[in-house]
Amino acid sequence: MIAKLLQNRRQAADGPSRLHRLNIGSRLALCFMLIILAMFAGSAVLLWQFHQARLQSERLTGVDQELIAVLRAHLSLMSFYERLDVLADAEDTNTLGEQVEVLQNALLQDSQRSQSALSHLPPEVRLDPTLLPTLLAIQDELPAQLQAMAMLAKSGDWNAVRLRLANQVRPLEARSSLLVENVDREVSEERAQAVLNIRLAQRKIFLIVPITVAMTIVFAALLGLAITRSITQPLGKLMEGSTALARGDFSHRVPVAGNDEIARLGGIFNEMIATLQTDIEERKRAEEALSASERKLEFIINAIPGMAWSSDPDGYTDFLNQRWLDYTGLSTEQLQGWGWMAAIHPEDLKAIVEYGESNLSSNRTAEVEARVRRFDRTYRWFLFRTSPLLDKSGKVIRWYGTNIDIEDRKRAQEALAASERELRSIINTIPTTAWSTRPDGYCDFLNERWLNYAGMTPERAQGWGWRAAIHPDDLDGLVENWQTCLASGTPVDSEVRMRRFDGAYRWFLLRGNPLHDESGKIVRWYGINIDIEDRKQVEAQNKIAEEALNRARSELAHVARVSTLNALTASIAHEVNQPLSGIVTNASTCLRMLSADPPNVDGARETARRTIRDGNRASDVVTRLRALFSKKDVVAEVLDLNDATREVIALSLSDLLRNGVILEMQLATDLPPVMGDRVQLQQVVMNLVRNASDAMGNVEDRPRQLLIRTEREDADRLRLTVKDVGSGFAPETADRLFEPFFTTKNRGMGIGLSVSRSIIEAHQGRLWAAANDGPGSTFSFSIPCGTDTKV
């Protein structure tokens, strides 16, 4: 018992770990089940004892019944024999016969009854072993004896009957009495035994019941305790946890064991705490970060090199940074609201007020400049700038502003303005006209001399108005030149006539230079116009002299031309004869056609038309030739050197052919035009060609090839080359070739090349000769192309 209790105690101690695996409900169910089992056990024991007691009492009853049965049997037997005796004594056969039957039945009945009673005894009752056999013997023997007796009775042998009776019956009687004694004795023993057992059982019961009850109670109590503890302990921990949570201790964790509801609750609780802990830590971190950034911002605002402030939407300034305070030497209380206005220079206050008002209205100005008083009572210029912070609907939430110290800049600006004024006075005093334009050419400055000369006001002349002072003939050229220079950045250099205030025109040299900044970009043009009227006069005189010289030259050229008349005669004849021949032929044909029968009027018309055409052609030739031979002054015109060359060749072709000259022409296709005297240049070409042809006059062993080539020499020069394979010239005579009256020909006059050279030089070109690698020589001249060559 005690051991069992102890065992239970131990179980209770480490019960929680095992019990906690189950849910509370199951645990409680288990507990109740165990209690009920205990109760069942107790009841079972009790019932068993009762059963025992009952058995004994049945045993008792049984032996009593045994006794009764034996007694009955004995009694019945005794009575039977008594009756028999009676009967026997009576010697009444009939009655005996009847009575025996009845008595026998009654005796057998009783015997059977006793037998059955005995057989129905509980097994604990120990029966006398002789009992049943005796009864059986009686049962078996009796009917036979009775029969015998009956027979004897019938026979009337009543003595035999009585004898039989005494012999047989009496022992039976004795047996029966013996049996009764035995049984009686046994029954008493049994009875005593049974009573003893009953007493024993009673005692047992009295012992067992309390014990069982006590055990059940203890067991139940322990179980209940264990279960309760297994519930209250975790609950207690949960409570601790909640208390800790309420206290603010988020690091507490509820110990969790098993996986019943409370354990699960504990787990969830732990999770909740963990989540709370994390949330709280995060929030703490965020708060710290916020306060750190706020500190940083404050630091920045006070560190930036400018004064900063902020005000509410109405303009009440509630924050000024440390620089404001340091600069003005005032405190925040003094400056806040509208107190800062006390630090503004009185003259600038109005501008500030207007600026503030404009900010508050919808018509904002960007910035304003005003003087702010320093702590040492000096004033410095500041630039005021404000910017609103708008909410989603566009309404102003706050104003933010900065003030930047521009004192130095203002000083610099004033110095600059002063130096500009000085510069201006210099420019207006120097004895030349001067001007200045923007990079695009827009003239925004002309000095006083310019304006006074032209008699214009600055408004009239600025921009592009100054063009009115330029001579119309020179204006286009100047403008074009000016545009080119603007674009390319090259200095302008132009001579133009400028109109004086009285209407007279004077020549000026217009010069302009660009000004570059560090990156090389042009930022301005500066220029002067120099009065060169006098120089021009001198130039004009020079020109006249030059013209005289040119005339002399052309006289010389004319002479040279004339000398070639002879050679040309054949060409002329040929040129003229061709159309003349056509005329004669066509006219003859015409006459013949008209004389035919019928007259061929259409054919005649055609031939007449051809006649007229050929006549015109001849006239053209004559005109050309006349022009060629007439003495004319230098006529400068734009001409195509290739065309002129072709004309010359056409004129001299027949001559060349007659001399057996094979002509090759390589005229460049992209030759630009040149400015010059067509006739004179053609003379040069003719001269060169003739010389080349003459040089090959005696050549027999090779083809008399004459090459005429035109090409571009540079970007602005053309070259014409005449190459032959004739006798050539000795290198030492190269320079002398061009001397007047130098000739290697038998019948030459020696003026061709010298005249040619002077013609070419008058065209700003040069004429030279070179010996070929093989036989012959190459004569070339180059002249500038373009239309602005001055001849």
Partner: protein
């Protein structure tokens, strides 16, 4: 007696004109047609040589001085080829050396431009043996 038409049906003598001068090539054919010949014009000797009328040419009117192959050269060439075509030279160059030269080479006549139609006709008749 043949009618004009019948005469036209008969093939007219082919006269070739070789001259680089356009006015000559323009004016001569009509005159030759008036004379009753069939003219063909060529602007150069090379053109004439490469044409297919070489064989049918009964008479050749040839310019003496042309760029490229000259009249004399053509005359020599025809001789070399064995083409015995009567040649009448024309030239505007009244140089005295030309005429004897070509006549020596076998030309029928050498006319100086401008020449009259009668002179031309006489030369043609002489060339074609129609005296």
């Amino acid at each position: 007696m043949k009618t004009a038409q019948e005469q036209a049906a008969i093939e007219l003598p082919l006269v070739a004109i070789v001259d680089d001068d356009e006015s000559v090539r323009e004016s001569l054919p009509d005159l030759l047609r008036e004379f009753g010949f069939a003219p063909r014009t060529f602007s150069s000797a090379e053109e004439f040589l490469s044409s297919d009328s070489l064989a049918q040419t009964k008479c050749l009117l040839l310019d003496a001085f042309m760029p490229g192959m000259k009249g004399f050269d053509l005359q020599r060439e025809l001789k070399l080829r064995g083409q015995r075509i009567p040649i009448i030279f024309m030239t505007a160059n009244k140089n005295q050396t030309v005429r004897p030269q070509v006549l020596e080479q076998g030309a029928v006549e050498c006319l100086f431009k401008p020449f009259s139609d009668t002179a031309l006709l006489a030369a043609l008749k002489k060339a074609l043996g129609m005296d």
